[in-house]
């Protein structure tokens, strides 16, 4: 074989060099998104400016952006715990949906007179349990039988969504909804209060950042999860109980996603709907990956992605351009970043070296 370009594995690259490659990748993805818009006959500069304005232009828009960042961040944190273990939890969408189901289970059945903190606490606990159970099912099969978790967690998403759709169109349909297939609105004692115009989920999200950071970096369990992720063999050799670690990590992962369901049902939708997870479970995989599974970086990445989502909603109203442009831009950013990682891991050298096979 006569190769003009030789690819070799690179030793660790300097942080600054890595940062340059990522920056270039993100810039290229934005240029590429601009070209796509241009080809479709739209003015990219105007659209990008409107996205920024729509996300950060007024106090209310910033509040909207933050409201979208909450579910994205908490879900990403849940995914980070699983991904650190090399466990492909792509079932966040379903875990969020089941968390919302758990919250609704309480909200739709408690008396209107019950005090708000108590109701919210009960909703929170059931949401965590439901999200955790939904993650526990694939986890136990992975731990005991080695069942492929990618497909398992993926399928669990749709089981959850179809289940809630069934409730929404069937047993839980609002009798006062004049036939419209929806579940009754929650009572006012089930709604999360706001602080600075954003539901208090944001405080919880920040607490979660600190919790996940501390848990992963400064506790024995967190360390064990990382070891299992790097090498199951090493973990086994060190005498770790791998099944237990898998299950604990997934309970945390699913539990965190479950809280997102509660926050979205209580503060945003104010009821349970089948589309409650709204794609956050999938977008969070992207944000978790982009932040290199670092909870603190993740907070910033999620803010940026939430801004993109909010900006997309805004341009739909102001320019009549579909809000789906946010999905296009997000997709392009990740394609470029994923592609750019190649240049971090491998070195290209040009020349006529003969390959020694």
């Amino acid at each position: 074989m006569h190769n003009l370009i030789k690819i070799t594995k690179r030793a660790d690259m300097k942080r600054s060099q890595e940062a340059i490659i990522y920056t270039v990748a993100i810039l290229l993805s934005i240029v590429c998104a601009g070209l796509v818009l241009l080809v479709l006959g739209l003015d990219p500069v105007n659209i990008f400016r409107s996205i920024v304005e729509g996300a950060l232009g007024t106090e209310m828009r910033i509040q909207q952006t933050l409201t979208k960042a909450i579910p994205l961040l908490i879900t990403s944190l849940g995914i980070i715990v699983a991904f650190k273990m090399n466990f492909w939890n792509i079932g966040a969408e379903g875990q969020i949906t089941m968390g919302a189901f758990g919250a609704a289970l309480v909200a739709l059945h408690v008396p209107e007179t019950m005090p708000l903190p108590l109701v919210l606490l009960m909703m929170f606990v059931t949401a965590v349990i439901c999200g955790a159970v939904w993650a526990f099912i694939p986890a136990i099969f992975k731990a005991k039988l080695g069942t492929n978790e990618t497909i398992f967690t993926l399928m669990m998403n749709y089981v959850a969504i179809k289940f809630v759709t069934y409730l929404q169109y069937g047993p839980w349909i609002d009798p006062n909804g004049s036939g419209f297939p929806r579940i009754a609105q929650f009572n006012s004692n089930c709604i999360l209060p706001k602080l600075f115009g954003v539901n208090v989920g944001w405080i919880f999200a920040l607490v979660c950042v600190v919790f996940v950071y501390f848990f992963m970096n400064h506790t024995k369990k967190g360390y064990e999860i990382t070891v299992v992720g790097q090498s199951v063999e090493t973990a086994r050799y060190a005498g770790m109980n791998i099944s237990r670690i898998i299950i604990i990590a997934m309970l945390i992962s699913g539990g965190l996603c479950g809280t997102v369901g509660m926050i979205q049902a209580s503060a945003v939708e104010k009821t349970l709907v089948a589309g409650i997870a709204n794609g956050y479970g999938f977008t969070a995989i992207i944000t978790a990956w982009l932040s290199k599974l670092n909870p603190i970086i993740c907070a910033f990445v999620c803010l940026a992605f939430a801004a993109l989502l909010q900006g997309g909603t805004y341009i739909q109203i102001s320019l009549g351009v579909s809000s789906a442009v946010a999905g296009v831009v997000q997709g392009l950013i990740l394609f470029f970043v994923l592609g750019s990682e190649f240049f971090i891991r491998y070195k290209l050298s040009f020349g006529h070296k003969k390959e020694v096979a």
Binding site: I7, T8, K9, L40, W88, I90, F141, L145, G146, T147, N148, T150, I151, F152, L154, M155, M156, N157, Y158, V159, K162, F163, T165, Y166, Y169, G170, G279, F282, T283, I285, I286, W289, V321, S322, A324, V325, A326, G327, V328, V329, Q330, G331, L332, L334, F335, L338, G339, E341, F342, R345, Y346
Partner: protein, 308 residues
């Protein structure tokens, strides 16, 4: 009964295209979770082309190019740049979903032109269409459906009866061994990922052109994920994929049909069955440690010759 089974076939055709597409991709060792996205891209570009040109041939071409284009991005990022399969595939789904909504927005509520609809109207195949029972179910369908049959048969012949098909199996099963035996790994992966994407695009176009000929957002509605499930359900076998698609397609309309008969079954409970069935199969496959049911050995693993 025959009418119901004929509707099952119609409901199964988009699944069949996408399942065969994903099957070819996975045989090459790549798990592409972008099926939903590629189907949506095919559905949108197919519809837009049909609307603007009224030409059935160009419609199909646009759908093929849309799916293949999405798959090409995936192939560049995973095969050449060796990025993670799962994350790249999910990104493709997010990208494709956004892309189809975005470019389809001006067409919301528009219908497929009459010329295209007429071209894809049901036509009985002479002789075959007259076979009792079988004829009305399988051979009084539209041209798109007949094309799906051909794709299905061709892919089975290709996989089991040709040298290239055998090589492909080797690439997915053990990439390093295939490389050592002189098979051009990169070329095989690219071809099958792209052809797979093109088939997903066609599956999407069947939905937006034939099944639901008025443009609406999210016309694919999760069928891409059912296709991912089906590939496992049918154990990577195109002939089983044919029957599996009709079965899962049938499940997607069973509840409504039963309601027409006055039986009160929720469609949404039936909608769960494909996913639950796939979970059960995945669990059994690992429990029995059966090679056949577990799929290609190197599925989802990136290959780097120097790390061999």
């Amino acid at each position: 009964m025959a009418t119901f089974l004929a509707s099952c076939v119609v409901a199964g055709i988009p699944l069949l295209f996408a399942t065969i597409g994903e099957l070819l991709t996975e045989k090459a060792g790549n798990l592409n979770l972008g099926v939903e996205g590629m189907m949506l891209m095919g559905a949108a570009l197919g519809f837009i082309t049909a609307y603007n040109t009224s030409n059935p041939g160009l419609t199909l071409l646009a759908a093929v190019l849309a799916g293949a284009g999405g798959a090409l991005i995936y192939a560049i990022v995973t095969v050449t740049l060796r990025a993670n399969n799962v994350v790249t595939g999910l990104t493709l789904t997010i990208f494709g979903t956004g892309f189809s909504k975005f470019i389809g927005q001006p067409y919301l509520g528009s219908s497929v032109p009459a010329e295209v609809s007429a071209f894809f109207a049901r036509r009985a195949i002479p002789v075959l269409g007259d076979i009792p029972f079988i004829g009305p179910i399988f051979f009084r369908q539209d041209l798109f459906t007949y094309f799906a049959y051909i794709v299905c048969i061709l892919s089975a012949v290709y996989l089991y009866k040709t040298q290239m098909g055998l090589n492909l199996k080797a690439v997915g099963e053990n990439t390093a061994a295939a490389d050592a035996s002189g098979i051009n790994i990169t070329l095989y992966k690219y071809i099958h990922i792209i052809v797979g994407g093109a088939l997903c695009g066609l599956g999407g176009a069947y939905l937006s052109i034939v099944r639901i000929p008025i443009w609406q957002e999210d016309v694919v509605n999760g069928r891409g994920w059912i296709a991912v499930a089906l590939v496992i359900f049918v154990a990577w076998n195109p002939i089983k994929a044919f029957f599996g698609s009709i079965l899962f397609g049938g499940l997607s309309i069973l509840g409504m049909k039963l309601q027409v008969l006055g039986l009160d079954f929720s469609q949404y409970l039936f909608d769960m069955i494909p996913y639950v069935a796939t979970i059960i199969i995945v669990v059994f496959a690992t429990h029995k440690k059966s090679r056949e049911a577990q799929g290609p050995g190197d599925l989802g693993n990136n290959y780097f010759r120097e790390e061999r």
